[in-house]
Every structure is written in C-alpha cells, then in structure tokens.
C-alpha cells in the first residue's frame, strides 16, 4: 500500500504552498485563516518512489470547536495516515509549537518543517535547528517554501524513513495527569482522547457516558484550580512551548521595516483607505466587467448564436440548441468578467494581508447585521455579482453567519440587477425613482439582517482573528487562484444553467410560454398590475437577471417600453426583479455553500419578498400618483 503523509499546522504557515510544490497540484494558497476547507489529496513522486500527501486545513489547536478543528481531529482519529508533517512558521515559533506539542501526543511518526526561515531571519530571530530537533525528538527541516528551498529534503526524509515518533512529553498539572491515567485505565482512552474528554471537546470516539463520568473529575479540578482543565492544559502546553522556543531562539536586532499598520488599522486614515479600496474595486469590476461581459455576449452572438440560428435546423433542435447557447453565454458572461476579476482583486487583498485589517475595521458595522468584520467581503462583492460573493462566504467561521450573509448577499442588487433598474426605471421613469428602489432594498437588507441575527439560533460571537503578515503578493499565485475560482464556478453553475435553460427553451418551443402567460395574466394583473408577458420576462430573469430586461423588450415587441407599460408598471417590474428569486447560478452556489435546504428557503423567501413588495407597490403607487 502507498505510504500516506498529511500536512498539519497553523493557518497561513505555508502548508498549501508546500503541498502544491511537492505534488504539483493546485491547492488554493492564501494569507487568510480558514481558506483550505476540505482535505486536499495528492501524490508526491520522486523517481520510482511515491507517497500520498494530504493537506489538512490550518488550525490553532486540536481542542478547538471550529469546523476545521473538528475535521482535523476526526482525521487524526481515523488514522488513515502513516506520518504527519507539521509545518511551523519560524517567525512565530512559540505560538506554532503549541499545536506541534499537541500533535506529538498523537504518537505517530512526525516530521517538523520550519518554514519561513527568511522572515524569521529578517525579524532577527536565529533558530538553532539541531537543538530544536533534539528537544522535540523529531527531525526538523528548515525551509523557505516560497522559493522552494529545502522542499526536496522533506520528500527525501520521508523516502529514507528518517521520520520517528516524537519523544517529548508535556508535563501537565498533577491533577490533570492523574485524571488522564484514570481515564486511560477505566475507559481505555488514549492520552489525547483522555485530554479531549477533560477539555470537554466532542470527539466521535468518546461516548456520552465517558463525558458524563469525566464531568465529576472536571468540576473537581475546576474547583481546586479556579480554572477549567481546558485552560490548565493549554497553559501547560504554552509554558513548555515558551521554554523550548526561548531556549532555541537567539534574538538579534531586526532589520528595520515600515510599520504600515500605523496607517491601516487606525480609524484614520484606515477607514478612508478601506472605503477607497472597496469602492475602487467595485467600480473597476463594474466597468471592466460590464465591458467584458458585453464583449463576450456579442462575440458569442456573432460567432455562435447567429450562425447556429442561420443553420435553420428543425425547430426543436433549434430551440434546445439556442437555449444551450444562451446558458453558455450566461455562464461565461459571469465567470470571466465577474468571478475572475473579483477574485483577482480579493486575492491581492488576501495575499498582501490587508483583508484581515479590513475585517478588523469593518467589524463594528457588520455586528449590527449579525455578522463579523469578515462579512465585509461578501457584502462588497455582492454589488458586483452574487456568485463570487457567496463563494467568499466560506471565509466566515460560523454556520450561522454563513446563512445570514447568504441571505443578505442574495438580496443586495448585483450589477445585473443594476442594469435592469437603470435600463428600465432610470431611462424610462427617472433617476430619482430608480434610486428609490435601491433605498427600499437597502432598508430591507438592514431589517432582514437585524431580524435574522435575532431569530437564527446561536450566540453572536466576537471576532478573534489573527492578523496576517503584510507581504508583497506574487502575481502567478493570484492568477492561479482566480482561475481556480472560475473553474469552480463553471463546474458548479454550468450544469444547472444548461438544464434550466434547455427546459425554458422547450417550454417556449412547445407553446407552454403562451399557455403560462394566459394562465398567469389574470393573477399577475390583479396582484402586481403587470401583464402576463412581463411576468414571463421576470421568470426568464432567473437564468440571468439582465435577461428579464431583454426578454421584456422582445416580448413587448418594442424597445420603447413606455408604449406598452406605464411608469408604475415599469417600476414594479424592476422592483420585483431586484428582489425576487436569485439567478440560477446564484442558487447553484448557494446549494453548494450552505446546503440545499437553506438555499431553498432563501429562494422561497426572496420569491415571497419580491411578490409581496411588488403587490404593495401596486397598491401604493396609485395613491402617490393621485396626490
């Protein structure tokens, strides 16, 4: 059987980069905690020899309760690996040793990689590798992953079998050690399991019964120490980590470097800088993305759609083929201009380490909506396109916040909805009226955010976020990352887009559209005051929001919409379009990120919201007009 190794370490220490360089696969690398969500698998080959390598998400401890920490804990318990490679950030050796010490207790062959040696050196820290290896009882390889320095040594050490089980033991408080012995004896737990039980961490192999039995011991220790065993155990590990780190590190005066944080994390000029950066990204993507999208759509129309229709195939094939081309246009029209561009800029922010600073500054405002500072990114992205915005929701640490953010992101007007609002209301009714739609949406977002943060169970937690080091971004990595996101988006959204577009095509082909129009016309007229064809156009907007506008023009048979619809009707059309059902691509991403149940709930919620506000507008507009 193939030899299996796994990379483990704190967030942003270079695990994914080492993984990429060793396996040649593309794991996403970033300077932001919590970006590797699943476990990446790859194979390292060196001549004839090979071993498999897993990239575990970055964590701070094996006893935490975040999704990543649970995942890693269960991975270690399942024992589907032969050795662990612990990656440490040499500059922050002490903090990184804390996790390493916990990992040594797993008692599996361990190899320590001391990464970012260059940064440690620049900070004036000289680390005695041999002394560190001796104290830990494992081989330690110094490396600079960004330059690929010494990475071959990692593979070589594994092939040569130079990896041993660590010999170091952590001296715990006598009471804790007694409790561990006790749990080992009576419940047959391993040392790490016994410690987890004492720390009151949920682990699949620890039964409820063991937890209940441990509770008595835990409260006894807590009573004697005035501190929970979790804190005692953590303090013991930190003490040893401090001892080791200070005995192997020699400090020399660091090279002087500019402290940009003096500018970036203060209210002034930090907040204006944040606002400028966010607004300019939005503007660039808005204009550049809009241009690119128009270009892609017109190119595809000229070179694919028009020639296809010119073939004059039999009507059924023509309808289905046309629908598929439409779906491709919709997908590519979002993927490259929006997903790629947004991720390009967000990756720059992420890799420079600015994103963590932005989250810090935005924290207060976001708390009102039931979110963290980390919720800023999805909110800003959502003005461009809901798809990358929802993809970025995985930056949020807690499930509850992911759901709140998804709802708000789907409600905020993306650029496509802006096209509808400006194309219909601003040009036919008036700029101020168009603006009022935005106001309505923002007020709704605010109300929904406040409500959800109270209604959704779970406590609102404060943000505890490690600030990433400020670094210069590397262009190739940013492009690579953005491309990965585009690929991801296409693979998620394309199938759904194709199917739904083909379905709508057939729907039209068999004349169901006319039947639907006839059926919906009375309802639509009474509830929304919109003729049936306008409602059908809204339904087409589900493929791509701009299509609601385009279809409306086609169905109305004239570009001068005022000839067929009154100002009030146009307003209701745009309002409903802005609020109701997110586009298919968004739904696909929602399903992927927060599950089918939540995605369905959001879809139904927005549908109701759109229809009810449309109906409300239908009732209120005549009142306004008579005054």
């Amino acid at each position: 059987m193939i030899f299996r190794a796994a990379l483990i370490g704190n967030p942003s220490v270079g695990k994914s980069l080492i993984f990429n360089k060793l396996t040649g696969l593309g794991a996403e690398v970033s300077n932001y905690p919590g970006t590797t969500v699943g476990v990446m698998q790859g194979v390292v080959r060196c001549g004839d020899a090979e071993f498999s390598l897993a990239d575990l998400p970055g964590i701070y401890s094996l006893s935490g309760d975040s999704v990543e920490e649970k995942m890693v804990r269960e991975y270690l318990l399942a024992e589907n690996f032969d050795l662990l490679i612990a990656v440490l950030d040499a500059k922050h050796l002490e903090r990184n040793l804390y996790l390493l010490l916990q990992v040594t207790e797993i008692q599996k062959p361990l190899l320590a990689v001391l990464n970012m040696m260059d940064e440690a050196e620049a900070a004036g820290k000289i680390i005695d590798i041999a002394a560190l290896a001796k104290q830990l009882g494992v081989s330690v390889i110094p490396s600079v992953a960004t330059d690929g320095k010494n990475l071959v040594d990692i593979a070589r050490a594994i092939f040569d079998g130079k990896v041993s089980i660590p010999t170091i033991t952590i001296p715990y408080d006598p009471h804790v050690e007694a409790a561990v012995r006790c749990l080992r004896k009576f419940h047959g737990l391993s040392d790490p399991e016994a410690l987890w039980a004492l720390e009151r961490v949920t682990v699949s192999t620890i039964t409820q019964e063991i937890h209940e039995n441990t509770l008595a011991v835990v409260s006894e220790i807590e009573r004697r120490h005035m501190m929970s065993p979790k804190q005692i155990v953590a303090a013991n590990r930190h003490d040893l980590a401090k001892q080791i780190a200070s005995s192997v590190t020699k400090m020399t005066p660091p090279k002087r470097h500019q402290d940009f944080d003096a500018l970036l994390t203060r209210e002034f000029p930090g907040l204006p800088i944040l606002a400028i950066i966010m607004v300019s990204i939005l503007l660039i993507v808005f204009t550049l993305g809009g241009m690119l999208e128009a270009e892609i759509v017109s190119l595809m129309t000229t070179y694919v759609a028009d020639p296809f229709h010119a073939l004059t195939l039999e009507p059924l094939t023509n309808a289905v083929g046309g629908a598929i081309i439409l779906a491709l246009m919709a997908g590519l029209g979002i993927a490259f201009p929006y997903v790629f561009l947004f991720y390009f800029f967000i990756s720059i922010l992420e890799d420079t380490g600015y994103l963590t600073r932005a989250a810090f500054l935005a924290d207060r405002g976001m708390q009102k909506l039931g979110l963290h500072g980390q919720g800023l990114i999805p909110m800003v992205l959502s003005f461009g396109c809901s798809v990358p915005a929802i993809m970025s929701i995985r930056l949020l640490p807690i499930g509850r916040e992911r759901v709140i953010a998804s709802v708000l992101v789907t409600m905020l007007p993306c650029s496509a909805r802006t096209v509808v609002i400006s194309g219909i209301v601003a040009s036919f009714v008036g700029l101020g009226t168009a603006f009022s739609i935005y106001v309505i949406v923002f007020v709704l977002v605010f109300i929904v955010g406040c409500l959800l943060s109270r209604v959704i169970p779970g406590e609102q937690c404060g943000m505890i976020l490690e600030m990433a080091e400020l670094r210069l971004p590397i262009a190739s990595r940013i492009i690579h990352k953005s491309c990965m996101r585009v690929r991801e988006f296409i693979s998620i959204a394309m199938p759904l887009l194709l199917v739904s577009s083909a379905a709508l095509g057939l729907f039209e082909h068999y004349g169901f559209a006319a039947v639907f129009e006839g059926f919906i016309d009375p309802i639509s007229t009474t509830v929304l005051g919109l003729p049936g064809f306008a409602f059908t156009a809204l339904v087409f907007g589900i493929l791509r929001k701009e299509m609601a506008f385009e279809t409306l023009v086609v169905m109305a048979g004239t570009a001068d919409l005022t000839a067929v619809l009154s100002g009030g009707q146009l307003y209701i059309f745009a309002l409903v379009c802005a609020l109701f059902i997110p586009c298919i691509s968004t739904i696909a991403v929602l399903v992927r990120e927060i599950g089918i149940k939540n995605a369905a709930m959001i879809t139904v919620f927005t549908l109701c919201l759109g229809i009810s506000f449309g109906a409300l507008a239908h009732l209120l507009i005549p009142l306004f007009l008579t005054h």
């Binding site: 922050h92 979790k230 953590a234 209210e267 810090f360 943000m463 505890i464």
Partner: protein
C-alpha cells in the same frame, strides 16, 4: 426571605458587638422610621430577633443570618480593595450594596480565590522566570483589556466567559501571559500582540479579558 433593609439591620446589630442594643443606637438614619419599624416587625415575626421594648436581641437564627451577610461584606470589601484596587471607604460602601445580591457559592469561590492570591504572594517558591511577572505588575488594579490605553504592556489575569472565547487560549491568551495592546479603536475593538503574533479582537471579546497593567520595562 429577607429584604435588603432587614439584612442591614441584622448586620448592624451584629456589628455593635453587644448582646442587646437600643433601636436608636443603630445607624440606619438613611431609612424612614416607619419602614424600619415595619421591617423590624417582620424580623420578629420570622424569629430573627427578640424585641423587648426598645431593646433588640438577635436570636440564634438571626445571628447566623447576620454572620453570613457580614462575611459577604468582608469578602467583597477585601476583593474590591485588594484585587481591584478600590479605596477602602468606597469599597465598603459598594460591598454594602453587593452583599445582598451575591450568592453564597460565589462568595465561597471569591474567598478561596483571595486565599490563594495571598498564598501566592507570601510563599514565593521561586517559580520559573518566564511565568512570573509579579515584579512587573506591582499589584495594579485588574481591569478589562478594553479599558487600557494603546501601547501598554499587560499581564493577563483571567478570561471571563471563557467557554465562549476558547480560541483565545489556543492563541496564547492565558492567565499569566504578557500581551501588548497594539491598537484600540473608539469602539473598543483591539489588536493585541501575543507571542509575537497580532490578533484582532471584537469589543465583546476585549471586554472579557481581565488584565493588569505592567510598568514598562
């Protein structure tokens, strides 16, 4: 069930140190006479005191209750002065308010805590250098992290509502650790440096970290 005034009366009687006291000798001047009389009546009714004309005497039950309240007062006043660094008079005044609403269990724990603190201060069995910052803190008052000025060097004393912020210990914010307050915004969101890493904290987190200011090295 005894009211605040009732507890005050019992405590006052105990404080005089006499078997029997006259009602007018008690310093309860800031209460209305009618109210005192009414409370006294209910104290007699519940068997806390014997009333003989103007002379009041504590029953066994009354003495017990009075001792309990007095102990709470003493422990609280001690905590307020010793740990939080309040002035004795102010501490006593505040203890008077707190003593009525605090549970016996909390008082027991607080008492234990103070004992341990005194023990630590007297029996210095030379703990390793890295764990001992007593020489730096010089018994400064313990305050929430959010109340310290930017740039100060701080000694972590304890973390309130620990279970909610358990990630803090993994990042090295444990009692006994030295941290630097790198940045503080107007809303009390902070950036701290712990173990040479910068960590951003929301106001609700920074308010729950109790620290002692250190004299700068």
């Amino acid at each position: 069930m005894t009211s605040i005034l009732a507890e005050d009366i019992l405590e006052e009687i105990l404080n005089t140190g006499k078997e029997e006291v006259q009602l007018h000798a008690l310093s309860l001047s800031h209460h209305a006479e009618a109210e005192i009389e009414k409370t006294l009546g209910s104290l007699v009714e519940h068997g806390f005191v014997h009333l003989n004309n103007e002379a009041i005497r504590l029953t066994k039950k009354g003495t017990e209750k009075a001792t309990q309240v007095a102990r709470k007062h003493a422990v609280l006043a001690n905590f307020l002065t010793e740990v939080l660094g309040r002035q004795p008079e102010a501490a006593s005044e505040e203890a008077c308010i707190l003593e009525h609403n605090i549970s016996t269990e909390t008082i027991d724990r607080l008492d234990n805590f103070l004992d341990r603190k005194n023990l630590d201060a007297t029996t210095q069995e030379t703990p390793p250098e890295y764990a001992n910052h007593n020489n730096l803190t010089c018994k400064n008052p313990i305050v929430p992290l959010s109340e310290c000025p930017e740039g100060s060097l701080l000694h972590v004393s304890m973390i309130c509502r620990f279970a909610k912020h358990s990630r803090l210990v993994d990042l090295g914010v444990v009692p006994g650790e030295l941290i630097t307050l790198r940045r503080k915004l107007a809303n009390n969101a902070v950036v701290i440096t712990v173990k040479s890493c910068d960590i951003a904290l929301s106001p609700e987190v920074s308010e729950n970290i109790m620290v002692e200011r250190c004299e700068t090295l």
